[in-house]
Amino acid sequence: MDLLEYQGKQLFAAHGIAVPSGEVAKTVDEAVAAAERIGYPCAIKAQVLIGGRGKAGGIKIAADAEQARQHADAILGMDIVGPHGEGPFRVDQVWIEGGSDIAEEYYASIILDRGEKKLLAMVSAKGGMDIEAVAAEDPDALVKRHIDPTREFDAAAARSIVADAGLAEDALDQAAEVLVKLAEVAREEDATLIEVNPLIVTAGRDVVALDSKVTIDGNALFRHQDLAEIADTVDDPQEQMAKEKGLTYVKLDGDVGILANGAGLCMSTLDVVAQAGGAPANFLDAGGGSKAEAIVDALTVISSDEKVTAILFNIFGGITRCDEIAKGIVEASAQLDLGVPLVVRLDGTNSEEGLAILAGADLPNLHQEKTMLGAAERVVRLAGGAS
């Protein structure tokens, strides 16, 4: 689960890391009122879960109330596309914070290194810019050091990292303290990624986190009540519905609704539908051992997306029993007005019983296919042909 900048900063503040104080606003009037309380100059920053906000025009400095209104009006409601073409992400809230007098801009991060199975600390004196470019063009400018999982990460260890990164001498102690606290955030809040870019030194020589990118391990939310509440806020209506029904659903842009069991098979199903020229409308993993009710729920969610013109069921039953899936399809057809063709491929545990149930129900909009590839081709044709 990714946190918005201001949520990350609130987490930092709770662990004693200096951040500019600010307020969140959802309307232009709220933003102007916040700016008036905070004073000028102030920064108005789009709160979206993607990098490259500055370049996209999502971060502006306001010198007075008129500018604050202008910028908030421009930023709220804008669509931001990520540096690698991700999104667009609609801005529905802004964070307003006091302007900072910046003397230096550094980079600091703590991340889970999956390959090495350790936390990794990275620090650079070249912050405030694209750190991937720094790493590629001037690798020595980025100091990377693993944190020994069996030992305490103390100020001395942190200080040697920030010193090697070449930060200003008079900022070393504070920067080391920030790094120790970032590692504490990782461990205590179950964060798998924490990135501060820039970590600034102010004209008054204070070290302050001016931005935050934080990813929290979704598996650990049971022990973080406050963060679990953030995770509960989902904007998309289908994703919200899926969440309430306990389904793993991700909405995509296409018109072919997809349901499969298991994340790997579901991803593979998206791939073969795309290879057949179709555009998947969603990712929905029905999980292992799905019962008929779960299938009704899943079809409810998929068919509530108005873009969907055909639905593909790709089930290879292991723990999941195909007869349960078939019962779910028959029940869903009776309860919901699907109105779109359904292509079903059932294989694996109890597939013959499942196929017999479907044959017996004689549903008008149902098409059976024996293979995954055949089913993908069929559903793409039914959805309106290759795109």
């Binding site: 990714d2 879960l49 993607i50 990520g82 073409g85 991700e86 999104g87 992400f89 991060s109 991340i111 889970l112 999956r114 390959g115 199975k117 936390l119 990794l120 990275m122 750190i131 991937e132 790493a135 999982p149 069996t150 990782a186 461990r187 179950d190 798998t192 990135e195 990118k213 990813t215 391990d217 598996n219 650990a220 049971f222 022990r223 991700v250 995509l252 499969a260 298991g262 994340a263 790997g264 098979l265 991803m267 593979s268 998206l270 791939d271 539908v273 795309a274 290879q275 998947p280 990712f283 292992g288 290879f316 292991g318 723990i319 294989d347 694996g348 545990t349 293979t371 995954m372 590839l373």
Partner: protein, 290 residues
């Protein structure tokens, strides 16, 4: 031979008194796995369909000679249960539980490494050596004994490919589900090593998916250390476009973690990568038969 589990496996299941644990544990026994004990603290002295229950894994090791532990306990209690297994004296721990916090697994991973215990999973379907032993939730009926070793991050995708191999008349030496979590006890490389040394295995099918750089690392390892043919499949070419938040991930691995990057890394080292599970099975069968 086979790898990880086989005729010599003596299995103890943590969570055998639970609904899932008993269903799968007894299913494994019905397949022929030597299920010697179950463990549930406070329920020592009871039995589940004749399988004795102990309070600790160590007791099961001492009294029943268990050498392989399967973990089927709920996520929030699973890491301590795996730690207990690591310290109990078993050689192999297979953790099926999904949803374990990754920082818990980080500590547990190093415990297993230091103790020299082979950890498979978590969040994996387990290991099946057809005709010998099944530890986990893999539906054994879709696999026959044979010459193809499978190692996979994904459960259902493995069943799909395994079933296509079976229909083509081929079988498996073992099927190892390593799990798709960020931190797993055994990576592709650990299992590739075992298949390389296993006489029964003539070809290896490796099933990966987006995220991390385990496939890229495996590609390097295959080029350097594996003499047997390897055929790969990668899922997730059209996966929800990852909204990349920070840049730190790409910096450490030098890889974007995308399916395309993994496919290219493998092909650059001479590993054939199938476009679909069906094509992957077809390439594997063709390669095996020369």
């Amino acid at each position: 031979m086979s790898i990880v589990v086989g005729n010599e496996t003596k299995l103890v299941v943590s969570g055998l008194t639970g609904r899932e644990g008993s269903f799968h544990g007894l299913r494994n026994r019905a397949y022929g796995t030597d299920l010697v004990a179950g463990v549930t603290p406070g329920k020592g002295g009871q039995d589940v369909e004749g399988v004795p229950i102990y309070d600790s894994i160590r007791e099961a090791v001492e009294r029943e000679g268990a050498n392989t532990s399967m973990i089927f306990v709920p996520a929030r209690f699973a890491a301590p249960a795996i730690d207990e297994a690591i310290e109990s004296g078993v050689e192999t721990v297979i953790a099926i539980t999904e949803g374990i916090p990754v920082l818990d697994m980080l500590k547990t991973y190093w415990k297993a490494k230091e103790a020299g215990v082979r950890l498979i999973g978590p969040n994996c379907p387990g290991v099946l050596s057809p005709g010998k032993a099944n530890v986990g939730i893999i539906p054994a009926q879709f696999f026959d004994p044979g010459k193809i070793g499978v190692v996979s991050k994904s459960g259902t995708l493995t069943y799909q490919i395994g079933n296509e191999l079976k229909q083509a008349g081929e079988g498996n030496s073992s099927i190892v589900g390593i799990g798709g979590d960020p931190i797993v006890g055994s990576d592709f490389i650990d299992i590739l090593k075992l298949y390389e040394a296993d006489e029964e295995t003539e070809l290896i099918v490796m099933v990966g998916e987006i995220g991390g750089d385990a496939e890229e690392r495996a590609a390097e390892f295959i080029a350097a250390e594996i003499s047997k043919p390897v055929v790969a499949y990668i899922a997730g070419f059209t996966a929800p476009p990852g909204k990349q938040m920070g840049h730190a991930g790409a910096i450490i691995s030098g890889s974007s973690g995308t399916a395309q990057a993994k496919k290219e890394a493998l092909e650059a080292k001479g590993v054939r990568v199938g476009e679909s599970p069906t094509e992957t099975a077809r390439i594997a069968v063709e390669t095996l038969r020369g």
